[in-house]
Amino acid sequence: MSAKEQDIERSTADRTGDPDRKRRAGIITRNFFLHIHATRVHVHSMKPTYTFGLGIILGFLFLIMVFTGLILIIYYTPSVEAAYRSVKDIVYLVPGGRIIRNMHRWASQGMVIVVFLHLLRVFYTGSYLGKRSLNWVIGVALMVIVLLSNFSGYLLPWDQLAYWAVTIGSNIAASARELTDLIGITSFFDPGGFLKKMLIGGESVGQPALSRFFALHVILLPLSIIVLMAIHFWRIRKDGGLSRPVRYLKDRGTENKLLAWPVLMWTELALLLGVVAVVLLVAIFADAPLLEQANPAHPDNPAKSPWYFLGIQELVSYSAFAGGLLIPVLYLVFLFSIPYKDREDEYVGQWFSGNEGKKLVLWSAGAALLAVVLQLFVLIRFGWLKDWIPGISQWFVLLINPATITAGLFILAAEMVKRRKKSSRMGALVLFTCSFVALVVFTVVGIWFRGPNWEFFWSAAQWPVQ
């Protein structure tokens, strides 16, 4: 027996000495790609209602993005003159091009939805606890990059949708100007303008912006996803598999563990086929939108960003700085900091941290819904500061609006619960639930209840004819 074989022998030795079990463990040990799983996986990790397979579905959707993206990049031309035509060519001239483009679009939307579901799953099962803080941070970073990938891809077809969404997006990047203007230092200190110029290479969206977004979309962001995804998966292995409740934590050897080969691997292959089938079906029956070619002179009315940014666009309609920068940055800081603020490891691997947490989550969701809807009602029915006191200082507009009030209320509520219950996990549950509910409400309002001039309408059927 060679030294290498001895190595394998040692690492795959099974206590039962069963040659078949030894062989199955060896298949994983010997294969680089199958190392995604340990040779033995804890039974609790395989419960479908624990993970819902969301992480691995994201991985599969990303695979679809890469494969369909490869076809698209062959035919796409990243120039202002040719981009729109080349996308039309993909749809009408390339065999199956319509399906490929649709799959790319719908898989990307799928990634946005599943990445949020994955965030919910990991948070509510307390899976950032128990030394998993680093992986949580990597996960949140991945979520941000997935959103940025989506947004950068949005510009490439160079249609009306693309042009105005990115015009708004790039000016949100410059929205620090609202603050520097107020202090009166923009002429010599302009971080907003700096960020905008770096993003789109000029004052308005044009060829430099298209080239930059193309580079981001096909090189920098996918590469970052691949690297971070690899670390994300590797950390799961290093952290001893997926999180599980305290009662299973002592299972360090082979107790309660099943060999990953072949059943788990086959199940995941089936999941891959399922994901591809769903995306394919959607792609056959629903076409990705392509409006008329971008016209920098006239925005569509209403001009909306991609749906997952409409929550932010709603906030931005109160104040560019508060809604576009302050609140989103605060939210990200909150997400990144969760595992460092809450270290109550006893709640690991338990949905909603038991009955007390479950009740708290329900109450928080209801209260947050009420608070946000009430403010929106006042805003839409009676207007806001500028309508009540014409000529009011921009400081008040920036500091007192539904975005900042909502954030302030939630932080206060979470702090109170944390003190009263003497539990950082309970505080985190409140703040996470409230802010997520608010995000959903603002997004829903942005998607369905905002029409021309960003005015409120119960349905698109009521929009004035233009």
Binding site: W164, T167, A297, P299, V316, K386, N453
Partner: protein, 146 residues
């Protein structure tokens, strides 16, 4: 040992400063050399603008207003998030987030943080209207030599 520490430190400092210089110059590549000054715009004869209305000049994203006293020019870019404004009967409205301005370019409602800028208007030697987007003026300042 002292010499080793000295060499070790020197090497570290050299490597770090090289890294910083490299990173800065790499970062600089994202900002091309474009003249910061905005070019003046020539718009043709003043008579082509109808009287008492805002005429939208789409390639430069501005409105030109002409009345019997003279010509004024105002930006058509919303100060909120850069959408193109539409002119209404008594001012301007932004289709993106509903900011409203009066005909003086002052914010009436909506999220716009600043009033619209008015540009200096002049006439070239061959009688064409010249607009200088690099130079802002008061809202009621007109170019009267028409």
């Amino acid at each position: 040992m002292i010499r080793r520490q000295f060499l070790h430190k020197t090497a570290l400092i050299l490597a770090a400063s090289t890294g910083v210089v490299a990173a800065l110059s790499y970062f600089r590549q994202f900002f091309p050399r474009i003249a910061g000054k905005k070019r003046r715009i020539t718009l043709g004869d003043s008579a082509r603008f109808p009287v008492d209305t805002f005429t939208y000049i789409d390639e430069h994203k501005l409105f030109v207003y002409r009345d019997h006293e003279g010509i004024r020019a105002v930006t058509a870019i919303c100060t909120h998030l850069g959408c193109t404004l539409e002119s209404t009967t008594d001012g301007f409205e932004c289709p993106c987030h509903g900011s409203c301005y009066n005909s003086q370019g002052e914010v009436l409602s909506g999220p716009a943080p600043r009033d619209l800028s008015w540009f200096s208007v002049n006439k070239s030697s061959d009688g064409k209207v010249l607009i200088d987007p690099g130079k802002t003026v008061a809202a009621d300042e007109k170019f009267t030599n028409t």
